[in-house]
Symmetry: C2
Subunit: 458 residues, 2 copies
């Protein structure tokens, strides 16, 4: 990074932090209707800030819900890559308030961390992008890449507006790749890039075995019990080591390059520590694939809820007529949600006990998995930028999560996403005392200065 | 039945029905605290009525809860049998009120039925005992048997006071057998006696697989899932035909006399009708034992509630750390609750997946099964009385239910129970528009006149 960037950042540091604190003071909680004015304030704050740092065509775009703030810099021309930058200005509710050491919307610097709701999810990480754009534009008067920035206001809401917005604005948003600030490093002091995300597909079904709940004194011994049928059916979904037992489930999984798995030894990870951390007697799914591979690059099927019959205190001797189950799969590689859902439904129908009627109550083909090729030029640019920002070798990892926007831009705009965020898994996103390390704010900003000033290859 | 009884019943009919209607007007709902004054009114009404019909030592006995009304007639002497008669004066709540065609506490005669909350459970059937005692005492001036009548006020409440009361009053309540008015005929126009009741044992357990719920994006593939463990464990409880797969579960079951099973062809019953009535695709547990035998004389294990994880709308991609299940067994013949619970716990522990920790949250050794020998003299007396009351052959059947008082008097007083009630399974006990057939009120009263006037053998 050139001395001129360093000098600008040093001079701007206090002002930029003040700006971030102003942004963090806005309680832009999208899930609570009474905060609608704060949502508007946050959108306006972002709009104003994009103008202040010199982006063009800055405006609020209607979505049918909370507006998306848009800004661009397209002077790099058609030979330079165009990057679609993503962040969100809405935050989670702060409850339970009594667990916060300092008020969630009074950002506080303490022990090298900025404590505030939204500090890490996603106001702080997004701010590294804004501070870096400001720096490069101020120092160089331009960027070597084209950028289009969208900052949405419904990430915590999981509304469908972003999907429709992307579908309707393909031309405006056309880009070579998406760069997502709403992601995290592997761990503190580990500059790192997640090369893939798992996809997701979910469904809920019910089993019915009779017209009404029946009394077990009267009908016990002849009446089918929906809970018995449910147990029998669910028990067919996994083998005893926790591997998915649905035929064909693993067919589209590709083995990872062995050199990538070999690199993972550089990552701080210990399987036994993980087991102790989550309080488990044993980890499941073991055997051929190591824990990191199972969490990042293998598909899963997890039950999220099962219920039926009487759940109150004591006993009610009912033979329940119906039972329900919710489940989802994490998808990897070439797996797509719709065929996986079809496979699952076929398995459920085949193994449904004959006394039960199976109804798929809903399906949710949530997201396709996404993989960023490790040899993509943009990945190399990001890796070099991280090494500049953090002063040490950057590592590749993968993520087991599904990031909805990555799936949406893949589906609607046909582009992959680079996950370049600076939060930590331990920052307390969605929890009390959410925070963002000042070190990650500073290093992240330097990383993004290096990235924006060198992103000349697609 | 002698002409003098007939004449008395004819002359008393209108007055007796008025008395029953007065009794039915009292909303003696034991489960709702605001009805405490009505509970007191009902106890007082029964007390007064026992005095009016000529019982002795009539009084309210304290239980720690609602009082038990007591009355006796012990002039028959030590060679005559002593019968402990049982009924209850409390009723279920009447909600939902809008489903009643006439108000629940304004007894209404319609289409040969008396509609009121408590009409069949248990005010009407108990009243047949009271009307019969009044008749025999009025006509003969005495009874050929000794009777001790207890009418409790907490049957719908399932409190423990009756148990303690029986345990503390063994001498006062000493008897050769209990006669329970709180039971039903096999069907309309089928005078019948249930020779056995199933017992009951219940438990609730939980499985735990981690210290907290975990996110399936982060930990899916390595974290054990309590719902998967629960499904695997519950699936070991039954075979695919619904028979209990716990080793030793059926060991204490005795085969029924083949002549008894042969008699059941006289009972109106059709397996296919039952299947259609309950809306089942098929009945379970088939094979060696016919449906009536499975409902009456075979033990069962039914899950009553299973739950864990997220049950709200939509999806929450959690890996649940715990799951819960409630179940109970119906017991027959020589099965006792405690050993059955021990057998169950052993099975659960043996089959609990290694990633889960099993905790038995509670057990409820609810009731021993009870069988009345079909050749007992009291059974013969009751059968003959039923034939007099109904003018047709009386049949034996069995009941799959557990009647708590029968188990309690067996445990505390060491006596078996004769189930001699006149309600019908279709009377709507606990439901809106509960009713009691006038025909069963009249025939039941005649049956009990015949019974009390001829119960001279133990």
């Amino acid at each position: 990074m050139t001395a001129r960037y360093e000098q600008y950042l040093a001079e701007a540091a206090e002002r930029q932090r003040e700006a971030l604190f102003d942004y963090l003071r806005i309680p832009s909680i999208s899930t609570l209707p009474e905060h609608a004015p704060d949502i508007a304030d946050a959108a306006e704050w972002v709009r104003g800030h994009l103008e202040r740092i010199g982006l063009r065509e800055v405006r609020l775009l209607e979505t049918g819900g909370n507006p998306i703030v848009y800004g661009e810099w397209l002077d790099a021309g058609p030979d330079a890559p165009t990057l679609l930058l993503y962040g969100h200005y809405d935050v989670q509710p702060a409850e339970p308030l009594e667990l916060w050491e300092t008020p969630p919307f009074e950002p506080t610097l303490r022990d090298g961390r900025i404590y505030a709701r939204g500090a890490t999810d996603n106001k702080g990480p997004l701010f590294t992008y804004l501070a870096a754009l400001e720096t490069v534009l101020a120092v160089d008067g331009t960027l070597p890449c084209n950028v289009k920035l969208i900052v949405e206001g419904e990430e915590e809401l999981r509304a469908d507006h972003l999907d429709a917005f992307l579908a309707a604005n393909g031309e405006l948003l056309a880009a070579d790749a998406c760069v997502i600030s709403d992601s995290a490093l592997y761990a503190r002091d580990v500059p790192s890039i997640a090369l893939s995300l798992r996809g997701m597909a979910a469904l809920q079904f019910r089993l019915e075995t009779a017209a009404t709940d029946l009394h077990s004194g009267m009908y016990g011994g002849v009446a089918p019990n929906a809970l018995h049928a449910m147990a029998r059916l669910l028990a067919t979904l996994h083998d005893e080591d926790g591997r998915v037992a649905v035929p064909g489930f693993y067919d589209a999984v590709r083995p990872l390059p062995s050199e990538e798995i070999a690199e993972w030894v550089s990552l701080p990870f210990d399987e036994e520590e993980l087991r102790v951390e989550i309080g488990a007697r044993r980890l499941i799914g073991g055997g051929e694939h190591a824990a990191l591979e199972r969490m990042w690059a293998r598909p899963t099927l997890d039950l999220h809820g099962v219920w039926g019959g009487f759940q109150g205190e004591g006993i009610k001797t009912v033979i329940p007529r119906e039972a329900h189950a919710k489940l989802s799969c994490r998808l990897v590689a070439d797996m797509e949600p719709e065929p996986v859902l079809a496979l699952l439904e076929e398995h459920l129908r085949r193994h449904c006990p004959p006394e039960a009627e199976l109804t798929i109550e809903w399906t949710l083909p949530g997201a396709s998995p996404m993989t960023m090729p490790r040899d993509a030029p943009l990945v190399a640019t990001a890796r070099a930028a991280l090494e500049q920002g953090y002063g040490r070798e950057a590592l590749f990892f993968r993520s087991g999560w599904s990031v909805p926007v990555a799936a949406l831009v893949k589906a609607r705009l046909g582009i992959d996403s680079l996950l370049l965020g600076f939060g930590l898994p331990t920052d307390g996103a969605h929890a009390p005392n959410e925070h963002f390390d000042v070190a990650n704010l500073e290093r992240g900003t330097r990383t993004m200065v290096a990235f924006f000033s060198s992103a000349t290859r697609r």
